[in-house]
Structure formats: structure tokens, C-alpha cells
């Protein structure tokens, strides 16, 4: 099996995350602009004015760019949809990730390549054939097993199903990150409780909460305290990535446009290392254990293997929010970086920092830098500890920039 053409697609919900993804070795990034994407609420989202900057930064690193435009569209959205697609084309975005037929049709009209979103719930080869007139890459439903995925990919080759580019249709799957409780994200709960449609990117995540069951007969309440019965654990395929790729998958998508830059850095790094290990034949249990430990350090609800290995029922989280083994505390920001002597100057905003502490620095142009405090200096004197208000320096081998944020990393 040749893994050289496999693509790792990273989420970019901010310039910090975008830079982190590129530095961590992704092959492509996906991001949303304005409000017509599935993270309209939870991610800051870029504007059409940011597209040129995103494309320039990605092009310089040979990273492909995909713009998500995958909500349900109403009539009043059509003009904005067309404006976004026109801007994407002008800016040099590689493809648009679409789910609504109006967006696909307009992309075809103007010659903008399309990737079919998982929201389209593609679960069989006939549907792949149907959409082949519009999309070159198709994201399959997350609820398929790997044998179903392998069968669809084999049929694409056998039937020579080609997309608008003339190439065989490529199949993309979700490799890591949060899973929706509803099939292909088609959930009505959030709309029902808060008029906030998940399919317009406004999900309020009812499924992640605790619930009480009340008897209609006598009003007795039973607390469901052993599991969050609707909150799926996070998907993690790093332990069976060989099987995923042997099914013929071309693109591995990492979920998380609402996640921080350090999350993107950790997850993309692990999956890139796993892909490289598969290529050079060193992929195995020891490395899988290492990567799993690393992945557990950042936001997660516990891991499971999704539906890929044939599970019929989901696995549910047993805690609210993240089970990350590490957390970061914001302590200050960068004032200046001195490249010749490789020293960063910072101002403390809160908490304390000691020699030996693990630190994390993030910024829009710097991405993510991890380090250990080797030395702390205040007014040219070495100190053991710095506190709120102190202006201090510490040695840093990687360049950072003024206003980058510095965090202390501690056990959760």
C-alpha cells in the first residue's frame, strides 16, 4: 500500500489554528467564512476579506484550502452563497465543501471544484455516482463501517466513477474528533429546545448535557449519573489507521474548527507522524500508545473507534466537557522577541511562572510553540519565579511575535 498520496485535512477556526496546522504538517486545511457553515455559532469564522491572506499563507507551504459552505440554504442566502463562492474562486481556494444542491450547482456553473460534505450522508456507491457530476471528493457518512467504505471505493474503481475533473472520485472520511449523536449531523434537538438549528451551524449541543428521567405516573425523578446518554465519545482512528487507509481512503479529515491552536497542533502532529510511520514501516503498538497519550492531553470526551470497526451502538461519554489530561493557564503575553540571542520578552498578566514549568505560546503568525522554562530573568537578574505585572525574559529557540499569548501547561 502506498500512502504517499494520502491527505491529512486540518481544521482552521482561527489564524492561530491555521498556522499551527501548517506547521504540524497537514496537507490541507478547511475553514468557514461568514455564517453559512456548520460552525456559525462556535467558531469565530473568517470573512471573505481574509480569504486572500489564508490562500497566500497556505500556497507558500503547498497546503490545499477548502472552504466550508455546507449549511442548509434558504432563498435569502443564495446571493451570499454566490458571493462567497465567487470570492473563493478569485482568491484561489482549492475547493468548496458543499451539501446543498444550490451551492453545488453554482460551483459547477463557475468552475469551482466541489467536495461533498458529510452532511449529504453518502452511504452507497449509487449516491456517489449521482454526485459525481458535481464533486471530485466525497465525504462518506460517519456511520459506515470500514468494510462498507472499502466496498464503495472498490466499486468507484470498478465502475470508473469520475468527477468533473476527469479523475476517479476520491473518498474522504473523518479520522479524529467529536461525533454528532445524530446521523450525519442531521439533528433537530437544538432547534427544538432553543430554535437554534444545528443544520445552520448554531447547535447548542443538548446531547452533551446531563439529564433526569421523570416518571409521568408519580413524578419520581431518576438521575442518569453513569453516562451522558446522548454524548458520543470522540472518534480516534490512530490505532487502526492502517485499516482505514487500506480501505482506500484518500483524505483523512480532522474535526475541530471550534478547537484551539494547541489542539490542532497536537492532533495534526500525531496523525502526520502516524501517516509517516505507515509509509516507512514503523507503525506499531508502541507508537500508537505514545500518540494516544499525546491526544489525551488535549480536549477530548474519551475515545472510541466510531462505527468503522462494525459497532452497532455508540459509546457515550461519562463526563461533562473535556477529559484532557493537561490544561493551559493564560499567564501573559509577548512584548518582543530577540532573534539573534533567541530570547522572548513577556509581561505577566496573572498567576506565576517558575523555572522548569512547561509553557505554550500561541499567535496568529507563530502558530504553537511548546517549551520548558530553562531560565527566567527580570531586569537582567536571574529569578526563580515571576508574578503578575513582571516583565521578564526567557530563552526560546523558536521565533515568536509581540502579542503572542503565553500559557502555563499543568496537569488537569
Amino acid at each position: 500500500m502506498n500512502y504517499a498520496d494520502v491527505e491529512i485535512m486540518a481544521p482552521a477556526g482561527s489564524f492561530e489554528a491555521l498556522t499551527a496546522a501548517i506547521n504540524a504538517g497537514c496537507h490541507s486545511v478547511y475553514f468557514g467564512v461568514e455564517q453559512l457553515n456548520m460552525r456559525a455559532r462556535s467558531s469565530i469564522n473568517f470573512t471573505t476579506d481574509d480569504l486572500v491572506r489564508i490562500c497566500r499563507q497556505c500556497d507558500a507551504h503547498h497546503v490545499k484550502t477548502y472552504l466550508t459552505l455546507n449549511t442548509i440554504l434558504y432563498d435569502h442566502d443564495i446571493r451570499l452563497m454566490k458571493t462567497i463562492i465567487d470570492c473563493a474562486k478569485e482568491s484561489g481556494v482549492t475547493a468548496v465543501i458543499a451539501a446543498d444542491h444550490a451551492a453545488m450547482a453554482y460551483c459547477k456553473e463557475v468552475g469551482m471544484p466541489v467536495h461533498l460534505s458529510t452532511q449529504a450522508n453518502v452511504s452507497n456507491v449509487e449516491t456517489v455516482q449521482f454526485y459525481a457530476g458535481y464533486a471530485d471528493v466525497i465525504v462518506l457518512a460517519r456511520e459506515l463501517s470500514l468494510s462498507q467504505v472499502a466496498n464503495i471505493i472498490a466499486e468507484i474503481s470498478r465502475k470508473e466513477i469520475k468527477g468533473p475533473s476527469g479523475e476517479l472520485i476520491k473518498i474522504e472520511v473523518f479520522a479524529h474528533g467529536a461525533l454528532c449523536m445524530a446521523i450525519s449531523g442531521k439533528c433537530y434537538l437544538s432547534l427544538h429546545s432553543h430554535n437554534a438549528s444545528a443544520n445552520r451551524g448554531a447547535c447548542i449541543q443538548n446531547c452533551r448535557k446531563e439529564y433526569v428521567v421523570t416518571s409521568k405516573e408519580d413524578g419520581i425523578e431518576l438521575e442518569i449519573d453513569n453516562e451522558y446518554i446522548m454524548s458520543a465519545k470522540d472518534l480516534c482512528t490512530i490505532g487502526f489507521l492502517d485499516k482505514v487507509l487500506d480501505a482506500g481512503v484518500s483524505v483523512l479529515k480532522i474535526e475541530g474548527r471550534g478547537r484551539s491552536a494547541d489542539y490542532v497542533d497536537t492532533v495534526v502532529s500525531c496523525y502526520r507522524q502516524a501517516l509517516d510511520a505507515l509509509q516507512d514501516g514503523t507503525y506499531g503498538p508502541d507508537k500508537i500508545a505514545q500518540w494516544t497519550t499525546e491526544l489525551s492531553k488535549v480536549y477530548n470526551r474519551g475515545f472510541w473507534d466510531g462505527y468503522y470497526l462494525g459497532r452497532i451502538m455508540g459509546e457515550w461519554s461519562d463526563a461533562y466537557g473535556s477529559k484532557a489530561t493537561e490544561k493551559k493557564i493564560h499567564v501573559g503575553q509577548c512584548v518582543k522577541y530577540y532573534p539573534k540571542i533567541k530570547v522572548g520578552e513577556f509581561q505577566m498578566a496573572s498567576h506565576t511562572l517558575r523555572k522548569g514549568d512547561q509553557i505554550l505560546i500561541t499567535g496568529p503568525a507563530s502558530g504553537v510553540t511548546r517549551s520548558q522554562v530553562e531560565e527566567l530573568r527580570v531586569e537582567d537578574r536571574t529569578v526563580e519565579l515571576v508574578e503578575k505585572g513582571d516583565i521578564f525574559t526567557l530563552p526560546l529557540s523558536e521565533a515568536i511575535r509581540p502579542k503572542d499569548k503565553i500559557y502555563k501547561v499543568v496537569q488537569a
Binding site: 435569502h76 443564495i78 446571493r79 451570499l80 430554535n195 445552520r200
Partner: protein, 75 residues
């Protein structure tokens, strides 16, 4: 009188406010976000002063808003 405040940049164009108070709200086909009819803009926040009789309809509009960007005050 009632002061309606609307943080337009955060609107996701769901049409919920239009359903509740169609005389006061209309979705723009230019950018897919809602317009507060009669609203005046200051630093991205739109405000309109309307009669008390519009209170109930616009209270429903605010309740319908999935991103909670419509606020009502009796003045």
C-alpha cells in the same frame, strides 16, 4: 416605548425574527443577515425605538433568535 437592540454581525440569517415580527424584521438578500427595519447603526449595533404595541411580537422575535442578539427594553 420599546428600544430594540440588534447585534447584526452575529446574525446567522435563520429567519426566526421575521416569522415573529414581519413588520420589524426582514432578511437581506445581499448578505443573508437580518435587517431591523427603522434601526439606526452605531458601531455595528442597530437600535430602533418602537411603540409598546410591538412589544409582544418582538419579544417573540428575541426569544426565537438562536444566537441571542436581539434585546428589548421598555423606556
Amino acid at each position: 416605548m420599546v428600544r430594540i437592540t440588534f447585534h447584526r454581525i452575529k446574525c446567522i440569517g435563520c429567519n426566526g425574527c421575521v416569522e415573529a415580527a414581519p413588520e420589524r424584521w426582514r432578511v437581506s438578500t445581499r448578505d443573508g443577515r437580518c435587517n431591523l427595519i427603522g434601526g439606526k447603526e452605531k458601531k455595528g449595533i442597530f437600535q430602533a425605538i418602537v411603540d409598546d404595541e410591538e412589544y409582544e411580537q418582538n419579544k417573540k422575535a428575541a426569544a426565537n433568535c438562536p444566537v441571542r442578539i436581539i434585546r428589548l427594553e421598555t423606556i
